[in-house]
């Protein structure tokens, strides 16, 4: 057989746990910076959560400047942005009352009618809806974390559940921090991406934990640190392989999937990288807090 998988040795012996202090400091800093960014700069909330009006048009014989001129004389708070290519323009307006916004859509459309080939999309999210969507998104992420915690708790010992949730919380905060720095639009699709990241990261963590559990039974005499190291090494090639195939698919989605899906793909790419990192460097070292031996072996 001619596989290239021999690049990664069958039994690699990298001292991941030895590096744990450095990575722990890195992650703590990253989390602190993320929390800081989230509370000071905040997220670039999209129309789903901020409410407002969004119109996407494809144009002919005009420029974004010309459209801006036409619209800004009637609307002070209008913002325009090229979307993918210079003939496709996104027009955003701040939220007003429901009735007013619906009328705004109509009048914006009639103002630029003769410059436009097609109104590709128009969205309006009223003030009550946007706050409901935000609340539900928050709810979904929290429930997902709790449900995963419970599942891990049932399948493993509770210490593993704790480790998994520490890693997950780390992933979510870190990803949000990066979204804030990169100014990626935060929409309903981002919530979906974050939940999927949670699912993915836990998937990664579970695979390693599974091995930890197996090795705990197998090597009763081994030092915990060495045992954890062994487990990470055992699963290393799988961890790398799966992350790479997932990233391949996501990069393809990012490049070819179209403008609308791009923020989603970017969020997922960030999340998969962070999730893989945290499974190895956060979830496993967290287990060191607990003494699995000798008590565990006695019963």
């Amino acid at each position: 057989m001619f596989g290239l998988n021999k690049i990664i040795p069958v039994e690699p012996n990298i001292n991941f746990l030895g590096l744990r202090k450095n990575f722990l400091i890195f992650s703590i800093l990253a989390i602190l910076v993320s929390i800081g960014l989230l509370s000071i700069k905040g997220l670039n909330l999209g129309i789903d959560f901020k409410g407002g009006t969004l119109i996407e048009v494809s144009t002919k014989n005009t420029s974004i400047g010309e459209l801006r001129e036409i619209l800004s004389s009637s609307y002070g708070d209008v913002s325009l942005q090229e979307f993918g290519n210079e003939n496709i323009i996104l027009i955003r307006l701040q939220n007003k009352s429901n009735q007013e916004s619906i009328e705004t859509v109509n009048s914006v459309k009639s103002l630029i009618q003769d410059k436009v080939i097609e109104f590709r999309r128009s969205e309006f999210v009223g003030p009550t809806i946007s706050s409901e969507l935000l609340f539900r998104g928050f709810q979904a992420v929290s429930f997902a974390l709790i449900a995963i915690l419970i599942y891990i708790w049932l399948r493993f010992e509770w210490q593993f559940g704790f480790g998994a949730v520490v890693a997950l919380t780390h992933d979510v905060l870190f990803t949000l921090g990066l979204l804030s720095i990169l100014n990626v639009e935060f929409s309903l699709a981002t919530i979906a991406a974050i939940l999927t990241i949670a699912g993915y990261s836990i998937n990664d963590t579970v695979v390693i934990f599974d091995r930890v559990r197996e090795n705990l039974r197998k090597y009763k005499k081994l030092e915990l640190v060495d045992l954890f190291n062994l487990s990470v090494n055992n699963t290393l090639s799988r961890t790398i392989m799966t992350s790479l195939t997932t990233l391949l698919a996501l990069v393809s989605l990012f490049i070819f999937g179209g403008e609308v899906i791009r923020p989603f793909a970017l969020t997922m790419i960030i999340g998969v990288i962070i999730g893989t990192y945290s499974s190895v460097f956060i979830a496993v070292p967290t287990l060191l807090i607990f003494k699995f031996r000798p008590q565990d072996e006695d019963d």
Binding site: L4, N106, A140, I148, T196, A249, S252, L253
Partner: protein, 516 residues
């Protein structure tokens, strides 16, 4: 084939075959096919095929206010019958507080009132009667308002010629509309934005001072003209007859008046209308739509035939839209659009094309990668991956799920994640191959060892997907559906199909040793 049960091969192959066969309708995608088999295709969501999503909220506050006004009017009537003097009536947010001149008749009035409005709460405090619109009563108003609104919205949408609309209640006071293929949501929004409450009232032209002082006496009201706000009418509050008595309305053309709406009353309406017009010849009759006067022609003769026309400065579209509204009936309360998402067919088609390209390229990249890393085993995993994609498509088609843009993203993501189970198995096989030499035993152990890990890992992803479905809305649900189906399909293809393919390969190639 060594030790591979026939029933197992049969099951695996049947599922694969079914997966491929039932993916055909979605791949051919004949939009108008009535064929029982080709009908099992994926539904495209509004964001892919173009269309409008609207969320409407019934303005219940208007109804509550109306009901409180009714309470006040009824109390006035009862008090007048019983010769009780009212000092003051105050209408608050949820209460009507009536102050009587004397305390004697309060209980009597309350009892009469209670006969009319059961379920309302009362409180008597000296000479004050407090009528409360309690939550139970509100809920009754709310439920019937939503039910009526749903019915009327449905009629209006049907009349507008929209194909396959989805209209359903959403939460306590909202109505959700999905209108596939609607190119002009503005017209639909106009149709839904009107309450379309039509009533006919006799005009009181003898009390000019009331209009000048802008103060309507009891039993009368002042309304404005639809075209000219300076024109005011003093009308009898009580309607002669209303839109509920209409049996038909359509746009028509009148030689002298231009575009008009002609209508016909039912028997009851025709009788009422005939009687009132007979008794009021020479007076004016106002046609009131949603609280403004459209027209107020003078009654020149009794109209007993039960039909007539409404004229105004309509154009053809306005006249026919008004006819649609009148035919469908009035909404119990105004509807407010709280969310709208409309996608044109162009963007939808672009999204599908982009999604397909992303999926194909992602697939090719992952396949190349798997072959580079695992060689022949990788190629076998790729067969599983492709079958996996077919199974997802056929499941989406047969359960009639809706594919959205995030749904496509879910499929592309699944392509990347689906090989995970294969990777887990191969890595275990690799480890096992160091321990022993019996080829089939290695493969068997590899699968057995990987099993619990695969289950754990996939179930956690499923948990996230199910919660997304529970809390998500619209397009996001599409994502959670494809992700869940992808996870389930990938477990099957890895644990059953890859397993089958490996045994096949090993027995045919007759390998004596296994080095991954």
């Amino acid at each position: 084939m060594k030790n591979y049960p026939i029933w197992k091969s049969f099951t695996v192959l049947s599922i694969v075959l079914l997966g491929i066969i039932f993916a055909i309708p979605s791949i051919i995608y004949d939009e108008n096919s009535e064929n029982w088999f080709l009908k099992n295709k994926i539904n495209l969501g509004l964001d892919l095929q173009g269309g409008s999503y609207l969320l409407l909220e019934v303005q219940l506050d208007v109804l509550y206010k109306e009901e409180l006004d009714n309470f006040a009017d009824s109390i006035r009537l009862i008090s007048r019958d019983k010769a009780a003097k009212i000092e003051q009536i105050v209408i608050k947010e949820n209460d009507v507080i009536v102050t009587f001149a004397d305390i004697n008749k309060i209980k009597d009035i309350r009892d009469s009132f209670f006969q009319m409005y059961r379920g309302v709460s009362f409180q008597i405090n000296n000479n004050k009667l407090n009528i409360k619109l309690n939550d139970d009563y509100k809920k009754i108003i709310q439920d019937s308002a939503i039910k009526q609104s749903l019915e009327i919205v449905r009629k209006r949408i049907d009349e507008s010629g929209t194909k396959e609309p989805l209209i359903q209640r959403s939460g306590k006071k909202r109505i959700l509309l999905q209108l596939p293929g609607v190119k002009d949501p503005e017209r639909i929004k106009d149709l839904l934005g009107k309450t379309a409450k039509l009533t006919f009232h006799i005009v009181d032209d003898e009390n000019a001072s009331a209009i000048n002082n802008n103060l309507a006496p009891f039993g009368k009201m002042i309304l404005l003209d639809i075209y000219d706000e300076d024109i005011k009418y003093l009308l009898n509050k009580r309607a002669v007859v209303g839109g509920e008595n209409l049996v038909d309305a359509k746009g028509s053309f009148d030689q002298t008046e231009g575009h008009a709406v002609s209508f016909r009353f039912d028997t009851e309406g025709a009788q009422k209308f005939g009687k009132v017009t007979t008794n009021n010849i020479g007076k004016r009759m106002a046609v009131v739509l949603d609280g403004v006067v459209i027209t107020a022609p003078r009654i020149s003769s009794a109209i007993t035939g039960g039909s007539g026309i409404i004229t105004g400065n309509f154009n053809a579209q306005e006249a026919s839209d008004l006819a649609v509204l009148l035919r469908a009936g009035a909404l119990p309360a105004p509807l407010e659009i709280v969310e709208e998402r409309s996608v044109g067919a162009g963007l939808g088609a672009d999204s599908i094309a982009a999604g397909q390209i992303a999926a194909i390229i992602g697939m090719v990249l992952v396949c190349i990668f798997m072959i580079l890393i695992y060689g022949t085993f990788g190629a076998l995993a790729n067969v599983s991956l492709i079958v996996n994609l077919f199974i997802i498509i056929s499941l989406l088609g047969t359960i009639g799920a809706t594919l959205t843009l995030p749904g496509i993203a879910g499929i592309v993501l699944t392509i990347g994640m689906a090989v995970d189970a294969n990777v887990l198995i191969f890595e275990r096989i690799k480890e096992e191959s160091l321990k022993q030499t019996k080829v089939f035993q290695i493969v068997k152990n590899g699968f057995d060892r990987a099993m619990s890990t695969i289950l754990d890992a996939n179930i956690t992803t499923l948990i996230a997907a199910v919660l997304l479905f529970a809390f998500g809305s619209g397009p996001i649900r599409g994502f959670s559906i494809t992700l869940s189906l992808g996870v389930i399909a990938s477990m099957f293809t890895a644990l059953m199909l890859t397993n089958f393919l490996l045994y096949m390969y090993l027995s045919i190639s007759n390998k004596k040793e296994l080095k991954l």
